[in-house]
Symmetry: C2
Subunit: 153 residues, 2 copies
DNA sequence: GATGAAACATCAAGATC
DNA sequence: GATCTTGATGTTTCATC
């Protein structure tokens, strides 16, 4: 899968605004619509261009409370791992979750309305999975940056 | 700004797939195209529907190294804060950044190719801003979940 | 909520480099 | 020989009714 400069320019453009028309997109990379369209098809088929989504405003929706939950477990078996993944990923409040190197085994970013809503989530979480030896939460006071656009060199 | 069930259903749908045609979108909420289109306009104008973006595959692009950088500062002035924001947000590698409550003052999520690339970023970062008393990085070994879709009750 | 004009995406056939 | 342009066709958006 090789990406030339034009491919990267297209991806960069679409990462910022996926509502651009084919004609506008083509013009911005000095192409006409057909070759531009073929490149897009190729990028979609290869999987680089994964999906197009709408980004909503968390503040307007009353969902601007962001928490990070750090988790330690005593059970490092493959079986527990699978149960953990199955328990955690269905929660809509969990926006991101990673298995980590270092002191904590897992970290997740949680998006909710406010502290009471977080507390509710927290209880649901710890009741849905055992073997958690340490669960520590930290809270965002202010978001300074949030982007979905990957750094394309 | 009031959102009824149909508005929320539309937003939920678009959070998952913004490439849906108006006709498909309308059908999925049992509407014809005209009222659906009017709702979308209203949602766009109100700012809830902020933008539509393409999500790319980090692995295919060779950008699957995720680090979290935790920062403490000794300077809590408004002036330093502004310089920090101006220094950090332009970095394309910084996907998210938050001012935090708790032990560390700031946390950012950094997306790069690999550890050497992270090291390069790290040097750029610490050289671009002074007053950092403690900078600690933790690394993701495996992503378990990543979504941009807010939990719409 | 229906309708239709205008804008748009899609794809074939052939030109260009 | 891959990459482009033109143009024809079906689909989608969106303002008027």
């Amino acid at each position: 899968m090789h990406l030339d400069k034009v491919d990267k320019a297209l991806l960069a453009r679409l990462q910022e605004d996926a509502s651009l028309s084919l004609a506008d997109l083509a013009e911005s990379v000095n192409l006409t619509t057909t070759p531009c369209w073929k490149r897009l098809k190729r990028l979609e088929e290869s999987g680089v261009l994964r999906k197009r989504v709408a980004l909503l405003d968390p503040a307007i929706l009353g969902l601007s409370f962001t928490a990070f939950v750090h988790i330690k477990t005593s059970d490092h078996s493959e079986d527990w791992y699978q149960r953990f993944v199955d328990a955690v990923t269905p929660f809509d409040e969990v926006m991101e979750c990673y298995r980590m190197a270092g002191e904590y085994d897992y970290m997740m970013k949680v998006q909710v309305a406010d502290m009471p809503a977080f507390d509710l989530f927290y209880k649901k979480l710890v009741n849905s999975i055992d073997g958690l030896t340490n669960v520590t939460s930290t809270f965002a006071m202010e978001p300074l940056k949030y982007t979905t656009a990957l750094p394309l060199v």
